[in-house]
Symmetry: C4
Subunit: 277 residues, 4 copies
């Protein structure tokens, strides 16, 4: 009895190293295989929506879907078995994502019909969030995440400014252009304003009256000139942070206390007062 | 008699604190409710222009409009009563906006007809400007306003440059493309040039002759390269201001030798080694 | 005889002050009136191309054209009379522009026909270049001109890079997409590439095959990421120049020799070696 | 016998100087002529695809093609003869490109047919890569290449981020919009997302449902705000590098006290007052 338990314990620890370890060879291999299968899975869901391809290779896609689902099911069971706090994992964000990734295929037995298909497909796409857990992704995105958090306030003001401008300009254009040019309602006009201010410019809605084209021209030029301001603010934020970091990178540490970040012509350490030369 | 006057005075002061106060709990609550009602009001005017929605919920929208109008009317009367200089408020920009916000609904009794509707709707949209008075908005927009004022000169030169370029390029394209490609007049060609230079590119007008496409290509590449210059100027302006501010923020002069430029957590002067604290 | 000559000389000098002077009240007034008439003239040529407007007010526009032409003729004669080196002026760039500005109306007497009209209109539009001579314009554009000249090399490399990329990508898209998607020839494909790389995106030509859309997606993302590089170079150029200038602006002059541009914690003047404190 | 060999050796050396030399007058002339012929060759391949032009001047284009092919053949033979390690050259990247540049015309003797024409044309376009070997090009592109390599990591994260965002947003839009708005499959929706996020905005696919337009608006604003972040990172990278270089360029240490950071025309050390020259 004891041997089985200890055997299971040994198996649990080995599995834990493979699944959760990021510094061991087997852990890295597992992460790589998992990443490949997630991407393959997303690629298959994509191909299923391409009609010409789906009618031709429907059977093959279903088989691949089942193989992936079985793999994800095994991964889910092993994760629960090998982790120390399985309850915490099951109800965590990633635990729910892992469960959702395997549910749709099993549900397709009991439920059927075209209307269910779209929902099932939408749920399947949530598998993409499994990538976020991947160590490669999380380490690479930290820098970007930090940068986004640092300039969060400025981006919010920028978005806020864009929204207020869009409502005002959209309302003016609705009154000026009327329904002939495609400005059928104020929300539609606001949609046009956002499409224009962000310089996307689909052209599905565009002003046709001379006054509308004149106002649109002013909106474009003003927007183009004014939008350089928030962009400049964000860039300046990064440039100064980056510069401060670079300057501190190039200063030699204090020989006494090891403090870094001295200005380039410092004679004494700003922390302990020791002579730097 | 005196009691009524003093009671009214007490009521006036309480109202003043609620309406004009931004640091008291009741003042903040009032500002929040007012913001919510302004946004709701704008949202209703938007929905009224969506035909499918308006025909279905016309009655409910009218009722909501009346509730909002009564609230704004009460706010307007209380503002006049509680302020020390009511005449100044009534004829101020925000006083007129507040009056305009409530007028259209009362005018709809005496005036009627489809042509009036558009005008009434346009006037209603001026309620949006009530947001500008909101403390949240004004405090948040100060930074952006300052930045805009600081780079006003550069944005003006940029706009000026864009306009001159647009007139010259637009005129050339009108001569080259003629009326077949949609370049029916010089103003229309200028509109096309602005749409192109700002990279919006609707595609409602686009060159069809080889020469026109060739000139358009040059305009796009030149514009894309040259426009980086004003954008760079604005960004550089912010970057240097931001950097100077950061540097000066962290600089406290040494009490011994007066050297500046110490890092923010410096204990000893980097020049003479004197204790900074 | 002498009186007439001296009277003419006195008239010549007065006219010179009015026409060429930029610091006298009369000179400034003349510049302002001239600017107004140039803009009016350009505005009229624009309106002449708007069919609805031209048929309605054809007569009025012709009258205005003649008034402007007479004014420009007088200006041209007075410029020749009052300048010291008339021959040099007549054959200078601005002298030729001034002559061209008045010729079309006089030529319309001897020449006639619809085909002449377009040429005449194109010549009339050259009046726009008269603005370049205006002191307001030239002073304002100096900063931009300097910036453009400073980053000329970088803009050229950028344009060069864009062109090579456009030829390569355009050729690939021509082979991939074929004539169905609008990629009828390599020059047309290059036009599409430039429209796409500059993010203008008219949509008159857009890929329809899956492979074409895939390549177009790569082009857009790569282009968007790579194009940040030249933009960054230009911005960085300005930022550092602006920073150097700002730093030197804030340093106090040497009390001995008056040299400026000392670093913020300088003790001795770098030019004469005098003590700065 | 010896004379022929020495004559050939002398010819080989002369040819080597002309073909591979970049500092001699004859070498520079050869490079210039070669560049001109490459550009002419590319221009001819372009013109061949313009139907109206090709039918008119088909014969002339073929003759020019043959002249260019003979020139490139001679160049290829001389390169092999004059280089010291001909085998290494033949199997190098540029050696293969040079061979490919001449093959299609000779192959057109043995092979024929419309389907071959497209392949032949595609191969001919590879001649463009001959430009990359040109000294003018390689020297000019070094700065850009260095900048690209320096910010390679950041551009990769940026592209990676764009791809993940595009897959998620594209999938949401596919579920929301359905096939009516042109969102026929998830890959097509991803294509739309990339077209939108990069602000190209063709308009061949655009949302038509209110919810789709609402999500598209959020995508545009968010994308516009968030994309400023990676652009800011790249710009900041350049700005700091450029600034560091400028600062270090102007810094020569004081021979007396070793202080650095002197302005470029400093005569005396700002710290100890010692003569710097």
């Amino acid at each position: 009895m004891k041997t089985i338990k200890s055997k299971f314990e040994s198996f649990r620890q080995k599995t834990n190293v493979v699944i959760y370890g990021t510094n061991t060879a087997s852990g890295r291999l597992f992460d790589l295989i998992l990443l490949g299968i997630i991407l393959l899975s997303v690629f298959i869901v994509m191909l299923e929506t391409v009609k010409g391809f789906d009618t031709k290779y429907h059977h093959e896609l279903i088989v691949l879907e089942w193989i992936i689902t079985v793999f994800f099911t095994l991964e889910y069971i092993l994760r629960i078995l090998s982790i120390n706090k399985p309850i915490k994992y099951i109800f965590s964000f990633y635990g729910i994502i892992d469960l959702i990734a395997i549910l749709p295929m099993y549900l397709s037995f009991i439920l059927a019909g075209a209307s269910v298909l779209t929902v099932v497909r939408a749920i399947k796409l949530l598998r993409l969030f499994k990538i976020l857990k991947h160590p490669k992704f999380s380490s690479q995105s930290i820098h970007l995440k930090e940068a986004l958090i640092a300039s969060r306030g400025k981006i919010l003001i920028f978005i806020y400014f864009m929204l207020i401008s869009s409502i005002i300009i959209g309302s003016i254009m609705y009154v000026v252009e009327g329904e002939e040019g495609g400005f059928t309602s104020i929300p539609t006009s606001i949609y046009w304003t956002i499409v224009t201010l962000t310089t996307v410019g689909y052209g599905d809605i565009s002003p046709i009256t001379p006054l509308g084209q004149f106002i649109a021209s002013i909106v474009m030029i003003m927007g183009y000139g004014v939008i350089a301001v928030p962009t400049g603010i964000v860039t300046a934020e990064f440039a100064t942070n980056s510069l401060k970091k670079k300057v501190s990178d190039t200063t030699n540490p204090c020989p006494n206390c090891g403090t870094e970040g001295h200005v380039y012509n410092a004679k004494y350490c700003f922390h302990c007062g020791a002579n730097l030369k």
